[in-house]
Structure formats: C-alpha cells, structure tokens
C-alpha cells in the first residue's frame, strides 16, 4: 500500500493520546497520589493530541465536509465505529480534564471517568486496528498481531510521554515510577512487532497471477496493464520507495520506536538524568511514524498483480 501521511499522523498521535490517558487513568485508579493539577494538564495534552490526530484524519478524505456521514454504517464498518469512538474518547478525556481543572472540589472525580477512559481507549485501538485486520486479502494485516501492535505501541508511546510530562511539570517521582512500566511495555511492543515482521516475512501470497487471471499456465506474464500513464491503481497500492529505502525503514523504525526509547528510559532511571525522558519523546514519535509508514508499505495488495507492466 502507499502510506498516506494523514493516516500515519492520525494513528500515531491518537495512539499516544490513548496511551497517555490510559496511563493517567491507571495511575489514578491505583492510587498513585498524583497532583490533580498535573493530571489535568496531562489530560489536556491527550485531548490536544487526539484533536490534532482527528484534524489529520480529515486530510485523508476527498470530501472532508461530508465526514459526518462516516458515522452511519457502524453495524458493518470498523471505520465507522472508529469515527464514533474517537470523539467519545476526546469528550471523556476532556470531561475528566475539565472537572479536574474547573471543579471546586476536583477530588470528587469518581472512579467512573478513569475506568471509562480505559475502556474507550481499548475500544478505539481495537476499532483502528480492525480497519486493517478485517481486510482478509491483505495478508500482512489480517492477523490479531495487528490489534496487539496498535494497542501496545500506543501504550508504549503514552508511557514515555507521561514520563516526560512528569519530568517537565515537576513530578519526577511519577516519571521514576513509570520507568519500569515504560521499559516493560516498550520491550513487549518491540517483541510483538518483531513477531509480526517474522510472520510477514514468511507469508506466501494466496493470490497469484494464475488465480488473478484464471490462466493456470506457469509461464504467464503481463505484457500490458492497459494504460501508459498510471492510474489510481498504480498510485494507491504501492509505496514507490526503493527496496533499499524500504529495508532501511525497517531498521530505522525499530531503532527509533523501540531501541533508543528503551535505552533512554534505562538511562533516566539508572543515572537519574531525568531529561532523558524528554529526549525520548520526539525520538519515539519519529520511530512510531516510521513504524506506521512501514506497516502500510509492507502490505502487499493483490490488485497489484494486475498492474505490473506498462507497455
């Protein structure tokens, strides 16, 4: 597939927003004793990230003014479900942040909101991932690991972001407390992503030129795709990057999304250089953006069988 920048930004930022909100919600529920003002500011960060991601998603639409229609087919379409759940997530996190910010007695926020935020975040990860995992003939995506990776990578980026916010806004003990969690979840995310990479490397495409044309002759080749100047079919379904760039990206995303953030978290916890958390955020952001690019680029669409040769 040809990775679309709008979707890469959308899934990366929304994932981080969900991760951050879940980390804050779990901290509240587990009684981490966080300063209400800090939680409120961090929740506003999650709201802002989610809104930016929502704006980015509009750039993927040919007709953005009709976007409201996308909520119609929730019975059958995972995209429709995502379109419904994302605003609910923003509203819930915003409500929680608003109560902490403007309420006279912020301590009154019950366990309901954090629990609801966790549930809606999980649902949103599921909807986002199922958009890809439900397309059975894009074999790289059609697997539960797609759901696992969207969830765990989102959670990992949320943990690193939460730690950085703790350092930036005077809650170093919170950051220190998150160190082990950030390390564990980022390691898990790397592991499950490597599992997906291994699976994809071994995939045998179910569709062949023989099944695509019904001409079972082993020596069949395309001589003409039927047009010379390209079309939607040649633009949308292939990444157009060189093999070398594609392979480089696989190393780059693992380095930036997993290896470097892990090293920086260890550094922050072990040496007490807490600014490492702040360094880890942009590095991991770049890494997850690259990971998403690779996620799309690696998906081989069977329609490409029909669009091989121009002449």
């Amino acid at each position: 597939m040809n990775p679309a920048l709008s979707i890469i930004i959308f899934t990366t930022l929304a994932g981080a927003a969900q991760g951050l909100a879940v980390v804050l919600a779990l901290s509240q529920l587990l009684g981490a004793g966080l300063d209400n003002a800090f939680v409120a500011r961090s929740l506003w960060v999650a709201v802002a990230l989610a809104i930016v991601s929502l704006v980015a998603s509009f750039f993927h639409l040919g007709r953005p003014l009709r976007a409201w229609r996308a909520a119609m087919m929730w019975r059958t379409s995972w995209m429709s479900r995502e379109v419904i759940v994302l605003p609910i997530f923003i509203l819930l996190v915003g409500l929680w942040a608003g109560m902490l910010t403007f309420s006279a007695r912020p301590g009154d926020v019950t366990a309901f909101l954090p629990l609801a935020v966790i549930a809606v975040s999980a649902l949103l990860w599921y909807c986002t991932a199922m958009i890809y995992a439900c397309i059975r003939f894009i074999q790289e995506w059609a697997h539960p690991l797609t759901i696992v990776n969207y969830t765990v990578i989102g959670l990992a980026s949320g943990l690193v972001l939460a730690g950085a916010l703790g350092v930036a806004w005077g809650q170093p003990q919170f950051a220190a407390h998150l160190g082990a969690w950030a390390f564990a979840v980022t390691t898990l995310a790397w592991l499950t992503r490597v599992l997906a990479l291994r699976r994809n490397a071994r995939l045998k495409p179910k569709s062949t030129l023989q099944s695509a044309t019904g001409i079972k002759s082993p020596g069949i080749v395309q001589k003409s795709m039927g047009m010379t100047g390209g079309s939607f079919n040649t633009r949308e379904f292939f990444h157009h990057a060189s093999v070398a760039a594609f392979r480089r990206m696989r190393v780059i995303f693992q380095l930036f999304a997993f290896a470097l953030p892990l090293a920086l978290v260890v550094l922050a916890v072990a040496s007490g250089w807490s600014a490492a958390w702040l360094v880890a955020v942009p590095i991991q952001l770049a890494g997850v953006l690259a990971e998403r690019w690779f996620f799309f680029a690696q998906a081989r669409h069977p329609q490409n069988l029909y669009y091989q040769v121009v002449s």
Binding site: H60, G62, T76, S77, S217, G219, S231, H301
Partner: protein, 247 residues
C-alpha cells in the same frame, strides 16, 4: 431502491461474461465505457494531463494483455477487467457512509456519489482493483454495468446493454442474469467452463471469464484446458475437453 444485505441470496444478478477466445484487445469497450459514463449519470470522469507524457484518468474498464507459455508455443491473452459485481462484495460492508451498496433487485454494486467521502477504504477492500477514486471529483467511482442505460425504455431494446457490450466488435462480452439458468450468460458459463477471478477470497464474482477452447490451427491444437485452466500446447491434447472446434 433497496440494498442487499450481507449473505442475502439475490433472485437476480446481472453480470458480464468475457470470452477470452475472441477478445482481440482493441480497447473499444474501454473507450465506449469511458464515453458513455463520462457523459452520463456516473460522470464526468477525470482526465488529467490528457495530452502530456503521463496521461491519467478514471476508467471503469481496462483491457490488459498477458502472455503465457514459452517461445515458440506462446499465446497472447487480452483480458478485459472491470468491477466483477461480487455476490459477496468485500467493498460494501467496509464503507463507513453507506455510499457503497449492492442493489437487491439486480445485484449491481454501485456508489452513491453524493454520500461518498472519498476515503478510498472500499478500494483497499477490493482485491481486484476495480474501483478508482476520481482525481477531480474526489469520490470513488466504478463500473455501474451502465445502470443508466440498461433500464432506459427510451432506447430500443437491443441497445439496453452496457456500452462495452454494445461496442465489442467480436462479441467477446456477454451480458445477462446469471441467476436465470436459461440466460445466455448462464448457458455460456455452464457449457464453456466459465470461471471467476481469485476464487480464493470467496467474493463470488458475478462476472465470469470463458477460457480458451482448444482449437486446431494448421494441425496444431491450441487453447486452454477448461478443466484445469492450463494452456493447451501442440504436443499432447489427449485430455482436451470436447467439443474440439475445427478452425
């Protein structure tokens, strides 16, 4: 208009049947399709850079060319491809707006251009690459089986067929109801081994392709084995299916 629900078995399913024996790759169906649909209810269809080095436009139908076998025993196969109007269309349930739908009355898969948000998700969910996002109108477009033509009672009955079918000079394109066992298309599929593309995804395409029959040309039997889809080359035609047509 009523919309077919998933898993619903329709009483009527219009479809094209493409005869690979006689398609000569002239692209008349492509240009006729473009002309009719850019001027009609489905259009206009974008043409970008039409006189430049890399012209690109929206088409509902393409004719591709394949070569099978190895020299000197090769065959050139011209292969028209448009939306197959699947009986289980994977592109329909994924549409978030309901713009993509399958008609209950005749099984045609259509896009409501006024509801489409141009997200391209349906095109991802089509294994055949049958859908094209119009680069100017920014909505998804696809073959309509000339739905604005086949029911037009102002046209003479013989003209109430898709533009591509009318244009084909060799009669390589048949049009009809594959649920009617006595229709021309049903007979062709039944008697001449009509097959579907990418059966592995269980989309049950309504459009079928007729494999090349084995014919004897200058003492050489060439064609495509209806049973196994293999191309029949001169040497051995022991298991060639009947009837063997004499050229």
């Amino acid at each position: 208009m009523s919309t077919a629900a998933t898993q619903e078995t329709l009483a009527r399913q219009l479809a094209l049947v493409i005869d690979l024996n006689v398609c000569v790759g002239c692209h008349a169906c492509v240009t006729s399709c473009k002309e009719w649909n850019t001027s009609g209810a489905a259009g206009p269809l974008a043409d970008l850079n039409a006189y430049g080095a890399e012209p690109s436009g929206t088409f509902f139908n393409r004719v591709q060319t394949y070569e099978a076998g190895s020299f000197p025993d090769t065959q050139t196969i011209h292969f028209p491809k448009s939306c197959l109007h699947c009986e289980e269309p994977p592109c329909v349930p994924v549409c978030p707006t309901g713009a993509s739908y399958k008609r209950a009355e005749d099984g045609i898969v259509l896009v409501d251009y006024d509801k489409c948000i141009g997200c391209s998700y349906c095109s991802w969910a089509c294994p055949y690459g049958a859908r094209e996002l119009d680069a100017e109108r920014k909505v998804m477009t696809k073959c309509t089986l000339c739905v604005d033509r086949i029911y037009d009672e102002l046209l003479p009955p013989q003209d109430r067929k898709p533009a591509c079918v009318k244009a084909c000079p060799t009669g390589a394109r048949l049009f009809g109801d594959i649920k009617d066992a006595n229709s021309e298309v049903s007979k062709a599929i039944r008697e001449r081994g009509g097959y579907q593309l990418m059966p592995e995804w269980e989309t049950q395409p309504a459009n079928h392709y007729l494999p090349r029959a084995v014919v004897s040309v200058s003492g050489r039997d060439v064609g495509m084995n209806v049973e196994n889809g293999h191309l029949q080359m001169p040497a051995d035609d022991a298991d060639a299916p009947e009837p063997v047509l004499e050229a």
